[in-house]
Each structure stands twice: as C-alpha cells, then as structure tokens.
Subunit: 274 residues, 2 copies
C-alpha cells in the first residue's frame, strides 16, 4: 500500500486508528476456546466488528510465536483474511526485528512477501545495514523504533549523543538511509510534548503512536504536537479495544470503544482541515 | 543449562565453538531437497557430524521464519533433536528480540519453554523492562547485543554517551538489571582489540563472538583480549562450517572445518591453563 492510499483511507473513514491484535488465549472470551482456531476466531470477529472504524491492524508477533506452529498458523490466517476481505486496511507486523544484511532480507521476505504485511516494526540498534534491506521493498513500510512508551526508554533512547537525545539521532541518521521515504517511526504517546521536537526532524513521516489508552497517552496532545498536513499519525490501541468485554458481546464492546476513539479522531481531522 | 555446566563442556571438548545453523534452502546440497523436511535433514546431518567439536548451536530464527510454518516446524524439530540426543549442547536462539514487559515474557516463554532453548539474543534499545522479563528464567541465558560485527554498528553503538561509547553504556547499565548474572553479550570479532575495554566492564560474563571466519575475525586476537579464567567465550562460525561443501560430503566437510577451528581453540585453552 502506498502512503497516499493510506491517507485517502484516513480521510474516508475519518479515523487514523490502528487496532493492536495482541491476542492472548488467557484473555479472550471463554466460549471461543471451543473453536478449532480460537486465536483466528477472535481476530476475525474483532476485525469484522471494527474494520470501518480503523485504518490499520497490528498483530504483535510475540503473542503468535508464543503458541508455536498453531500461533503462526493463526497469524497467517489473520493476515490472509485481512488482505482478501479488507484490502484497504494497512497491516503492521509488530515484530521489532533487526539483523544484518541478508538476514534482514530474510525477515523482510517473510513478513512482506510470504505473509503479505504492508509494514514491519524494526529496532535501530544495529544501524544502516540492518534497516536498508527492508527499505528496498516498494510500497512496503519499515517502522523504526525511535522513542518507545515504556520506562526502559530512558535507559538509552533519551541519553545524549552528539549533543542530542539518541532517539533524535536515530531519526536524523535514518533519514540518510537509502529509500528512507519508506520509513515510518514508533513514537510513544506518553511523551506527547516530545512530538514537537520530533516533527522538526521528520516533518513528513508517518508516526505510529502506541500507548493512547492503556498506557496513558492523550489523543488531543498527540494530535496537537504530532499531526501534519498529511495527518501523519497512526494511533494504536490494543487492550482497551480488543478486551473491552469478556462476554459473548466482546466484538460489539470492541466496536463501541473503537467508535469512541474514531469519533475523537474525526474531530481532530476536522480541526486539521479548517 | 548452568554456566558451570557450559564451562565443563568447554574443557571436556577442548572447544568453545558455536555453530550457526543459518539454514538456507538455496545453499544446502541439492540432493536434500527431496527429503520431506530438507531444513531439518540438513541440520540433523550437520549436528551429527559436528557435535563433538562444538559446545553450542545457534539457529538464526530469520532463516526459519522466512519459510513460514514449514520453517517453524523445522526449528522445533531441530531444537527437540538437540535436547533429546545431545543434552550437553548449549542452544542459542538467535532471534534478536526486544519488546516490553508482558510481550517480552511471551517471547521468553516461546523460546525458553515451548521450544526449549538455553538462551536467546536480545536487542537493548528498549531498556530495562524489555530485558528483565527474560532474566527471570532460572538457568536460561539472555545474550544482549552490545557491539555487533556489521558496518551499521558504527551508526549508534560506538557513539559517545555519558563520555563513553553507547555499547559500553549498554554493558554498564545492563549490569544493574535484576538477575543480571543471567546475561551474556554479543561482541563482534571484527574489533577484537575492543575486547580489552569490554573485559574491564564485564570481566566475568560470557561473550558470544560472531564473525570469526567469514566476517574476518581472528581467533588468536579474540582469545588474547577476550578470554577470562572461566574461558568466557563462545566463538561462532556459520557459513564457513555448514556450507563447506555443496556435495553429498557436506557433513564431512563441515566436520573438517569445525575440527580446524576446534584445534585452534584447544591450543588457546592450553595456553589459558598454563
């Protein structure tokens, strides 16, 4: 999917919501455990109930790997279902991968070609030759971890390097990578005011903002500091939507919570277009 | 496996060789492609031919994920075979994972418990709460990326933070993590002289050293600067061993190359014990 198509979808749906499919067998409604593939059954129901309210889905790959081959199968079915039934949806493999040269190419092929995701999250620590292999794929997007929303972000990401925080150095250096137009960035919403500085370095890039909701971010602040003329934001919510209810109404409850966020987003988009 | 058991194996086999199982269907001998599971067939033959010459095997997970469910199945069979037939072998999942809190716990369970690996490689960028969940597993080892052997290592790892290189800061900070005695570190062999500085910070930890062989490292230098009284080194070779021949003699050729490295290592161990 091109960035332009993504932006069109955002305006069409009046939403820049990404729903995190962190599907956990201990948390999904009990009645689904009788299904042949409970993970996929849950994902399918959530997707069917919410696809008009969001523009992206983001399975966190750890949740699938934890179940071995069964989990991998559920992931394959989920992305295949999305690509077939809702091809307008932007898909993110939240894998936080990062390895060198031809190993990166392996991961890129696995997620972009075999599975068919539009994008993949990547860790920056190993530098240029761990990121560029992903950037070589046309109309695929590499979402680089810049500033994450966890406490550990302060261990290294905010340390001063060359007179600036490491995460800003990551933004600056990554702009010099070949095909850097295929980069997006993960920026945690717990530090919304940081977004103003970030926008000085990468005014045009899309930002994937986790942590609005469960992790304490504030949508208004994120938009105030992070939105650009092209919207430039995907705001993620996982647990707050997919685990809204443990009953048989779980999909409706998810849709209700997604709708609340979508309506807030519609207001922000209206303000943007004024 | 405890560190003590690993050290015992090293002295018994007179080897601190780790063999990287970066199994690629385009590179394995053609005759294996007729097997039901060519990846596992290749790994099994390599393992059977080399297990007395090495103390560890390290599948790079990217190579398995690239083949989807089939690859995941081959990985499961490989680790199950190692654990059943050669339980004295130290096993490393080269996954370079890193995510927050309960997602890290998911990955830890997947690799330590479901698959049964002794250790896992981890990226440090997300800090404490992305690493500590792995360290909580008894007799399991978390191998943190410090200084990698690729060109991109100079993008961020060698940048100055708090008056020292970022990778040294990673070493220092990681020592304060809970259960840090379960940490080992990846240190690229292309900068063997850096090992002297590294040993000042982490004198006792085990180092996983990639890049001896194909990536240009030198075993003598690595031992000179990196070895400690407890040996403290696992030196990895992947392509130089497993792709020594494309013929039906591939396993014998692999054993021959492994033997050459093992003999060099025996000499280094003899010098250590003098």
């Amino acid at each position: 999917m091109t960035t332009r198509q993504l932006v069109q979808q955002i305006h069409k749906k009046k939403s820049f919501l990404c729903i995190g499919l962190d599907t956990d067998l201990d948390k999904i409604p009990k009645h689904l455990l009788q299904e042949e593939d409970p993970i996929f059954a849950f994902n399918k129901a959530i997707i069917d109930a919410t696809h008009q309210l969001c523009v992206a889905y983001k399975p966190n790959i750890a949740f699938y790997e934890a179940y071995g081959i069964k989990g991998w199968g559920a992931l394959q079915k989920t992305i295949a279902y999305l690509n077939e039934k809702y091809p307008e949806i932007f898909t993110i493999a939240d894998a936080k991968r990062g390895d060198i040269g031809n190993t990166s190419t392996r991961y890129a092929k696995a997620f972009f070609e075999e599975l068919g995701f539009d994008s993949l999250t990547i860790a920056p620590y190993m530098g240029r030759d761990s990121v560029e292999p992903f950037l070589a794929f046309k109309d695929k997007h590499t979402i680089l971890l810049a500033l994450t929303s966890n406490d550990g972000a302060f261990d290294f990401q905010t340390k001063i390097v060359n007179g600036t925080e490491l995460y800003k150095n990551v933004l600056e250096v990554s702009r010099t990578y070949k095909n850097s137009e295929n980069l997006m960035y993960v920026v945690g919403a717990t530090k919304a005011s940081y977004l103003a500085d970030i926008r000085k370095i990468i005014p045009d890039s899309f930002l994937l903002v986790p942590g609005v909701g469960a992790q304490g971010g504030n949508l208004f602040e994120v938009c105030r500091y992070g939105m650009n003329a092209n919207v430039g934001l995907l705001v993620n919510s996982s647990r707050g939507i997919i685990y809204a209810s443990k009953g048989i109404d779980f999909d409706e409850a998810a849709a209700k919570n997604a709708k609340n966020l979508q309506q807030e987003m519609a207001t922000e988009l209206k303000n943007l277009l004024k």
